[in-house]
Symmetry: C2
Subunit: 419 residues, 2 copies
């Protein structure tokens, strides 16, 4: 069985590599046509997609999926409309391929250009969100990359129905149908194969929980764009504006607790911990948040004492850890020890302290007087995002179409030789 | 023994990681001071360096190194002067760290900046060129990265003497001495350790022959910036200017045959193969080049018949393979099959054909009417280079200080919360 999977995946990989060559030279017109036609197909196939989704939901309920998992899995006319709209939004974005990033002349008589090119073949491994089939497929297509999609077994039928619409779009634009492939099996051996397909896949993007991402990061021989956890910190400085601080901390923790940009740890400067800090903690408790307080804060009403493992923990829930720090350096030390390199924010009116924090905290996203909930490709103005990366190479922060490109140098001379 | 090496390398790695944190916030002044002081130290230590080099040369001769290897290894006052000058050149370059790559505003009231940051810790594994100790150390330092250098066993003493000068420079600038570390053993187990140090090394750059680079690419768990081979092609189109074509092909092959940008394969459009093509081949033969001719060219005087394995082969010598192709598409097909993704050049006066070649050949560097020998960081205006990469992720083409950086997002609001 596993041998069959290996053979099948090698065929899928070779087809993707061949399609990538054609996609790299596809015009923006063709890519837009494909995406808009795919959006039309999604709308036209609403009934088919809902029927497929019903199969998945029955399977998921029988398997005992949590309510949160089932909620991610479920499709309805609104969500299908959003999928179609997402495809049209990506279609309308500027084509990153061919953009000249830099250009300069050299004394020998050369004109050098650095030009955006596709990466090649992207592998996307995701869990039970069927919409990723369309979102990821669209961003890879827009950036001229072929994509191999491996959806969660729970969303198998829904993903297949959506994928069929993507293929219809490709066909309408005269692009190879193998530009967007969906692995047609629930067998997990397909995932292991993908992780080792260095000849056929240039980068893998896992979308899902810590278990999936950790497995991919540990076992992949192919480069990975991902974040394992979003352990986001908000530091309230001695010179924070109280109204802004209260509003931002509440938003950073409670707007949505299940996203990677949700704050998981609050750091309070010693000088305001018992005043503004106590007020912020009271706000959080009033909003229904469980506050796990560290040393020097456990006397505050309504808190529970934090355990050591509560720092550097991604709760993804109405829970927050709070630590008292001596100053901005103490905050940065805490973040260096417990952070995950995702997003951190400083709240202060002191420009010098803000500058220190912004230039010295090494996370993918650092913020000043803003909620960590903004850590999102759409909020950054990148259109859709295929994920957020905390690695330091190539892509970092929200990954949109532009981040899915590479570049090359195009050099023009006039019979120019090197001395 | 190998356990001891593991312990030692872990200590070196931890020290590099700690130094990276300090280097990331070092001012350009400090980095310039360190590099200029290192240059002074190299000049002052000329006698010590030459004595160390004499030890290496004796060891190398006893080991039976080739003349080419010995030539790379040998130092003299001129070469030592060039090493010092190289350090001063890098010192004078613009500091890439902190440069704002892009900046924009968002409707919610956020100002987003994308800012260059160091990558962290770079590992450099090289063979018998002692000058790499200074060049690589300088570029990593300028870009705010800590570096772990592992020089070839043949250049052990020379590298150690040069490294001591780098440390003197760091000391003069008040920067951590562990910012530039040289692995103090010839034991190859140190290389294996480096390839797996994912927690302490962010990227590895191998500098050397195909054997070294292949081993690193195959075994590394750490990301690698490298090129395995430079199998560069020059395509002479039907509409090539004869004078330019003759001059560029001769330069591309013969200026220096041992560098990765040297042409290894000439592609001749069918329409000019027997005229301009024959003339170019006669030029090459007159210059002492062995011409291995493919189908339809073996009748030309002085050529030898190419074997199939001569296409896609890096000769690094006065040898070139020549193939006859039907048109630019045939040339691109040949390159796709046999190229190494390094550098290819088209010689033509037809702008449309040139545009096709430049946009459709996927190599790191593509050229029009220019010699492939320009594939070099200094020629591109990047100052020194630490290597050339053919991978599609992060760094591509010549790798200078800017290519050794990552970036993060710095977001400024005013108590801004997400709706």
């Amino acid at each position: 069985m596993s041998d069959d999977i290996a053979v099948m995946m090698a065929e899928i990989g070779a087809a993707a590599r061949a399609a990538a060559g054609q996609l790299a030279v596809a015009s923006d017109d063709q890519k837009r046509t494909a995406l808009n036609a795919a959006a039309d197909a999604v709308e036209a196939a609403q009934g088919t997609i809902l029927a497929a989704n019903a199969e998945d939901l029955a399977f998921g309920r029988a398997k005992g999926l949590s309510d949160a998992m089932l909620d991610r899995l479920v499709l309805n006319p609104d969500r299908i409309g959003a999928i179609a709209q997402g495809l049209r939004d990506v279609a309308g974005q500027a084509d990153p391929v061919g953009q000249v990033i830099a250009a300069w002349d050299r004394p020998a008589g050369l004109h050098v250009e650095r030009v955006r090119t596709p990466i090649g073949v992207i592998g996307v491994i995701y869990e039970s969100r069927p919409n990723v089939t369309a979102d990821a497929g669209a961003l890879c297509l827009k950036s001229g990359n072929a994509v191999i999609l491996r959806g969660g077994s729970e969303s198998f039928h829904s993903s297949r129905a959506i994928h069929a619409c993507m293929v219809e779009g490709l066909r309408a634009a005269g692009l190879p149908e193998t530009a967007v492939q969906l692995v047609p099996t629930r067998d997990r051996a397909a995932v292991s194969e993908m992780l080792g397909m260095t000849a056929h896949i240039d980068v893998i993007i896992p979308r899902g929980g810590k278990g999936l991402v950790g497995l991919v990061q540990e076992q992949a021989r192919v480069p990975v764009f991902a974040h394992l956890e979003g352990i986001c910190h908000v530091y309230v400085d001695a010179h924070a504006d109280p109204a802004k601080a209260r509003s931002v901390v509440l938003n950073a923790k409670t707007r949505r607790t299940g996203i990677c940009g949700a704050a998981e740890c609050l750091l309070l400067h010693d000088a305001i911990a018992d005043t503004l800090g106590a007020q912020i903690i009271a706000d959080l408790i009033a909003a229904g948040v469980e506050v796990r307080a560290g040393a020097g804060l456990t006397q505050l009403p309504g808190v529970v004492a934090a355990k050591p493992e509560d720092f550097g923990r991604e709760f993804l829930d109405m829970v927050i850890a709070v630590a008292r720090v001596p100053d901005v350096q103490g905050a940065m030390d805490h973040i260096a020890r417990h952070g995950s390199g995702h997003t951190e924010s400083i709240l202060t009116e002191d420009a010098a302290t803000a500058a220190t924090f912004l230039s010295q905290v090494g996370s993918a996203i650092v913020m000043h007087n803003a909620s960590t909930q903004f850590a999102d490709g759409a909020e950054f103005g990148m259109g859709a995002e295929i994920g957020i990366a905390t690695g330091r190479l190539h892509a970092r922060g929200p990954i949109g179409a532009e981040q899915l490109t590479s570049f090359n140098y195009r050099v023009r001379g006039d019979g120019t030789i090197r001395a």
